[in-house]
Amino acid sequence: MAKETLDLLQGTLDLLILRTLSAGTLHGWAISQRIQQISEDVLRVNQGSLYPALYRLERAGWIEAEWGASDTQRRVRFYRLTRAGRRRLEQETENWNRLSAAVARILRTA
């Protein structure tokens, strides 16, 4: 039971990361901040689980990482969406929309 919830969360986090990166390259901390900001603090990214997710997405080839200089001239690791990642994002977004629409319908009518 717990495992299913975790899967859902994991999948959601992946989707959020991909979506965040679709706007441009960001480093890890900025990703967590952006998600929090945009969701108006509704979603709070568990910062600990952000990095394993980033590494997983990198392994899957959906994002790429590269060391570079930040605005404050710090050496940080930037993440960028790959083409495969962009496709994946489209797919996931569509799945998510379908899922949430379906859930919403059920909640409204049932």
Binding site: Q33, Q47, G48, V76, R77
Partner: protein, 890 residues
Amino acid sequence: MRLRQRLRSLAFPLRALLGRDRLERDMDEELRLHLEMQAEHDRGRGLQAADARRAARVRFGSVEAVKEECRQSVGVHFFDTLAQDVRFGLRSLWRTRGFTSAVVLTLGLGIGANTAVFSVVRGTLLRPLPYAHGERMVVVRQGDPAAGVSNLGVSMAEVGDLGARARSFDGVAEYHSMNFILLGGDEPRQVRTGVVSAGFFDRLGVAPQLGRTFRAEDDAHGADAVLVLTHEFWSRAFGRDPGVVGRMFQMNDKPHQVVGVLPPLPQYPDQNDVFMPAAACPFRARAVAAGNRRARMVQAFGRLRPGVAAGEARVELDHVLANFKREHPDSYPAAAQPTGTVEPLADVMVQPARPTLIVLFATVGLVLLIACANVANLTLARLSDRGQEMAVRAALGAGRRRLFRQLMTESLLLGLAGGAVGLAFAAAAQGALTTFAARFTARAAEVQLDGTVLLFALGVSLLTGILFGTLPGLPSSDALARTGGSAARTAGARGGQRTRTALVVSQLALSFTLLIGAALMLRSFAKLQAVHPGFQAENVLSLGLHLNWSTQSPTQFLSVERQAAFHDQLNERIRALPEVSAAGTAWTFPLNTSFRNDGSILIEGQDPAGTLPVAQGMGASEDYFAALGVPLRQGRFFSVADRGDASDAAIVNDRFVERYLPGGEPLGRRISFNRGQTWRTIVGVVGSVRQAELEREPGPAYYVPFRQFPSFSSTLFVRTQTDPLRLADRIQAITGELSTDTAVGPIRTLEQIRGDALAPPRLTTTLLGAFAALALIIAVTGLAGVLAYAVSQRTREIGVRVALGAAPANILSMVLRQGLTSIALGLAIGVAGALGLARLVSRLLFGVAPTDPLCFVGSVLVLGAAGIIACLVPARQAVGIEPMRALRTE
């Protein structure tokens, strides 16, 4: 796309592993930065530096745990676990050294045999021909199947017309091969000479190793004669001296310049020493001058246009040949229906090798399967011995998958070790196998342990590991942990016993199939060995004689009279030797598989418009028959008087009489082999000699006096009262005295010639026999092992039975029953398998049906006997069990 992703997700952990330090550094740095930025952010909101850092850490959670999760995400663990498994596996295999070495040796034999045979299959059957256009080269033949002639040959004029008319080819080259004498070296050297159209090598796509190959102008009438050396001859005769290019040699009365050296190449159909352009061949020049379309003395090689299939070319060829007959009716017998065949050169070159290699490959495959089954059984037994170890590991939390993975790692390690040993075996067997393959195909020289073969060995090793690693199966780790290991033992004893028996039965079945194969080959070989070739092989020396094509040489062999005189003198001198009882000459030696001289003949009084009889012609001197020991059935042999224009004598063999003159009186009948222009009278009937393959029934043949039809290349036969090889030097000396430019060779006894003909089937039989024996040994030791294991499992039970009064005979029959059931099952399945396999072997068999009952019964007896002996060992062990001791165990 998916594949790329897959590869990537596999490559990623590998990269991560190799850059392990970098990964750790990156991770440290990235996480540290994250915490720093978070703290900075919080400080911006008014927190103290120390508090901000703490808050950031709290929010982040355990850094180490995150790192660990990251490592898992990247997949580094896969390799950590692998390294662990490998280390553990090696230790565990080392502890059971006996088991390990038995397994590695068994697998080594199996994998080695497969690798070695595969290297031959790859070198000959699978590799593309080492010519640039090899896949488009075809052998073009003209035959008359209606008259029973598969290969008429083609004439030079026909090759030219074919090239001009048949649109399927973008070139047709002519080829024939002759023996000439090369002068200008240390001594006259007989060279096998391939005579080809100038474009021959360009069409093949062969670039010279040194110098050049032929150009169109080399083939022009009156061009300077040039030679191209084969790599093999260049190495043998000139020690690979690059200076040989440009050297002049005397050949056929003309200076010939060496213009190039070929790279090492497989040759077909002859193993030539040198090549010359067609225009330079004196023999051919005479025939061309005669303008005779019926002088079908050459062979044709075609190159298919890109995209044209051999089948399409054949259809067109038939059409073109039909036109040839219409336009030149005098060039074919009236009833002839010339038809063509177009076969890829690559296929033709390996045709004789293919069936043997396929059978051999199947055989070693079965041997490996048997070895796998045996190893699976050993692994199963070892597994139940490791029950406790498994239980401990399961109790400590190792999942079934984890345990299975450990076992699989060990199996793969064993497979790889077996593969390494197998490669060593294969490398050791390489030389012998190449020699073996050379008996069947010129492509044997291409056999090597190259990258593909190594990959094959690796693949087979891994596959073997997986196969015998999966076969035994594994109880669930729950069961293992719960029962404290006895699950493994019980699994080994019950379910395992079934698996074990199934494995042993399949081993027996497979090895029975191999036994049948070996038995069939053995019987076939015995039959072949018993074949009477039509001559008495004992104490006969055969010497190849090759005269120089010269008008200037003192012997001036271009005239028939001079050639005849030379042979007369030679035979006379040899006959004068005290050890010699007969000496005769003929065009070639018997059992010469490359000699084909079938032609249509006319028999006086038979319809010349009907399908003409076909017979093989041979020039033979009067003592040829005595020297070979060919019996006279009727009439007389040739005599000294059969010379010049005085005689029209011909001799036929008894096959000829049976087939074409049944019931009549053959003597005095007249035959013609030039469609009635001249006639020869049959003066004698002799026994039939197998002139070509030993396997082939001799066909109708006629003989003409060698004196009237001498040949520049001939074979001299000397029957002696002592060891014939002892005369070789003396005969060579006599030849040298009579003619300084005549080359002698090869020098062999008729028994050696017969032995050579028997060598390929003998080798095949030996190999198949050895593999069958190996398989049998593995299978019956497997059977003995399984029975012994069953007895050891039932020690208590047997003890109780004995205590309760079971007689030794009862115990014995109990064990034997189990063994015999396995054997019977194995035999039943094996018979079915062998019947299926029979079709595969049938092409190798001579005079034996693939379902030969004798072979089946014999194999059943051999396997049964070996199996029962294998049963007796554990059975005696069972009988020897003392009840008291047995009950005290456990």
